[in-house]
């Protein structure tokens, strides 16, 4: 860790620190981490003594006491505060999504010890549809699928999630969802994303899957009306079946409250051994062991867009995808062994 880095912060931030004072010699490498903080405060005080006009320059100068990473992060935060950040037309904010990585990496490595297989079945470019089983009340399964692709795929990409529209009526949740790549689950949005050659993740079980009882775990629910197959057929996008094992145990749902669900307008209100009894603590997921498997892609482009109107074919494909996911779920359950250790 060095503090002699006035102009080694990269081209973007160069020039921002030209007001730096002569190099300090109080701090050398090996000083405990609060060294920079003390230097920062000392310089800030010097700046304040210099009168109000010297403040901005002093703040910038004082920042030079910190390591490059800290200064870059501060500078980036200030840029964001000035509105200099990118969101695509769907509202996806890659920087925001990346900023969550440390917490998610911890969940992936230590908490759930996720083992991923078949990740190269996800096309690295072009349109494709991930279809997965859904469980665990909160969308941790989608988060981990996305992270598995970020970490293990040779060509990492961010999938776009189709999210239950209820989420977009909620404060904070709505913003977080769109910033990490969630869009309202509707055929129109899904088609448009595929036309844009994006990777779209869908959970055809929907709320039925996420909100099912613990006793029903790993039994796939009905796959809606096969709408996802129609969309994939129209766009000629391959369908990649995904099985997630472990998400069923994170919040073992033992009951639900219709009254509370109606009161907050939610599709269901889960009751688990810890929620709502322990309040916010009850939302900490249990550390089950996870496996994620990406299956062989099922091609749809050879069938042509007209095939989307063929009900029999749509149902058949939908069942095929469901059976494949169910098979992979059972297989991975057996391979996983014990749920928690």
């Amino acid at each position: 860790m060095t503090t002699r880095t006035t102009d080694s912060t990269g081209a973007r931030t160069r020039g921002a620190y030209t007001a730096a004072p002569p190099r300090q010699d109080q701090i050398e490498g090996g000083v405990p981490p609060f060294g920079p903080a003390i230097a920062f405060l000392r310089r800030l005080r010097q700046g304040i003594e210099g009168g109000p006009m010297a403040m901005p320059a002093a703040a910038a100068a004082a920042l030079t006491s910190f390591p490059v990473e800290v200064r870059e992060a501060v500078d980036r935060a200030l840029q964001r505060a000035a509105g200099e950040y990118d969101e695509d037309e769907w509202g996806f904010d890659e920087e925001f999504a990346t900023a969550l990585r440390p917490l998610l990496d911890f969940l992936y490595d230590r908490w759930w010890r996720v083992e991923t297989s078949g990740v190269t079945n996800v096309p690295g470019t072009g349109r494709a549809m991930l279809v997965s089983n859904h469980a665990g009340i909160l969308p941790w399964d989608g988060t981990m699928i996305s992270l598995a692709i970020q970490r293990e795929h040779p060509m990492p990409r961010y999938p776009r999630f189709l999210v239950l529209d209820w989420a977009f009526t909620l404060p904070f949740v709505s913003v977080a969802m769109r910033k990490v790549g969630g869009v309202v689950a509707s055929p129109y949005n899904a088609s448009r994303l595929l036309e844009d050659d994006e990777l779209v993740a869908v959970f055809p079980e929907g709320a039925k899957g996420a909100g099912k009882d613990f006793s029903e775990r790993y039994r796939l629910q009905r796959f809606g009306r096969g709408g996802f197959v129609e969309i994939a057929l129209r766009a000629g996008a391959p369908i990649v079946p995904v099985a997630v094992v472990g998400s069923e145990e994170i919040y073992p749902k033992v009951g639900e409250s219709r009254l509370l669900a109606r009161a907050i307008g939610a599709p269901y209100f889960p009751i688990t051994p810890t929620f709502p009894a322990l309040g916010p603590l009850g939302t900490i997921p249990l550390p089950s062991k996870w496996r994620i498997e990406f299956g062989e892609p099922i091609r749809t482009d050879h069938l042509g867009p007209e095939a989307a109107d063929d009900r029999a074919l749509v149902f058949e494909l939908s069942e095929r995808v469901r059976d494949e996911i169910q098979r992979m779920v059972y297989e991975n359950l057996v391979r996983r062994g014990s749920a928690f250790i």
Binding site: P56, T169, P171, V184, R192
Partner: protein, 331 residues
Amino acid sequence: VSGRRVLITGVSTRLGTELARRLERDPSVEYVAGLDVRPPRARLERTEFIDADIRNPIIGRLIPQTEVDTVVHNQIVRQPGGGVAPRAMHDINVIGTLQLLAACEQTPTIRAVVVRGSAGIYGAEPAAPQFYTEEMARLYPLRTRFQRDVGEIENYFEGYSRRHPEVVCTMLRYQPSIGPGTDSQVTRYLSAPVIPTFLGFDPRLQFVHESDGIEALLAAIRNPVRGAVNVAAPGTIGLTKMVRLAGKVSVPIPAGAFVPALNTGRRIGMPAISPDFRRLLRFGRAVDVTRLIDEVGYMPRYDATEAIEDYVEHQQGRRLIPSIRHLAVGV
């Protein structure tokens, strides 16, 4: 072949006057007439000014005399305020449109009607498609008074269009305008000292730059297409990003307290926010502009972010709170 003969309603609005000026300079336009109750904003050279209220049946006698082939309906009031009461706004929008169409019925020379309508008809809904295409106008109930007005206006034009297959009716659905010369609810909102937002919401918004707004109208006059066409800057911008680019500080207010807070704010001189704009600030709205680009043949020059940036650039002098970054690192 003789040139086009164009009538503009609402010629004394900023956009109406600018449109008349542009048409005057176009050699293929033989005659320009402008209808309004106030004189135009600037001196127009060869525009014939018709001093009449669009709500008055007298226009049924005046318009046929002009023998125009194109009518541009630009007299749709988008927000209360600016001297127009909510009640008058409804009258101008709905009764005015009815009277205009009655006058058009008696003008057999008409071949094209271009309406500067509003994307407000789509409303702002949490579960909405992320980009509305033109056929998605009635997915949700029309919730606000202005939405219902626009709904009625569109119904009247659809009826007129059915009765007169020889006339091409273009319904341009504009997203809110923004730009250095625009004075609208959006610009007043952005120039307030602090900006009220909904706590926990950061909607995707879309605007149309004022210069694109006028060019799109000109393009639609030159090349009228049947039916509705969305007019907006391509792409979207988040409200938070927009406020930050404008160098403003937002004040997040919980949804339940938003209306009372605004009412209090109005007493101390904060700008008013209409119910439509309020919903927009919570749920946002974006439209698909493929039809404008492919069929009308106009490619907007500003995308969503550029439109805001251009507006902000011209506002720098009036900035109250300097940017935090500017204070801290002097760039």
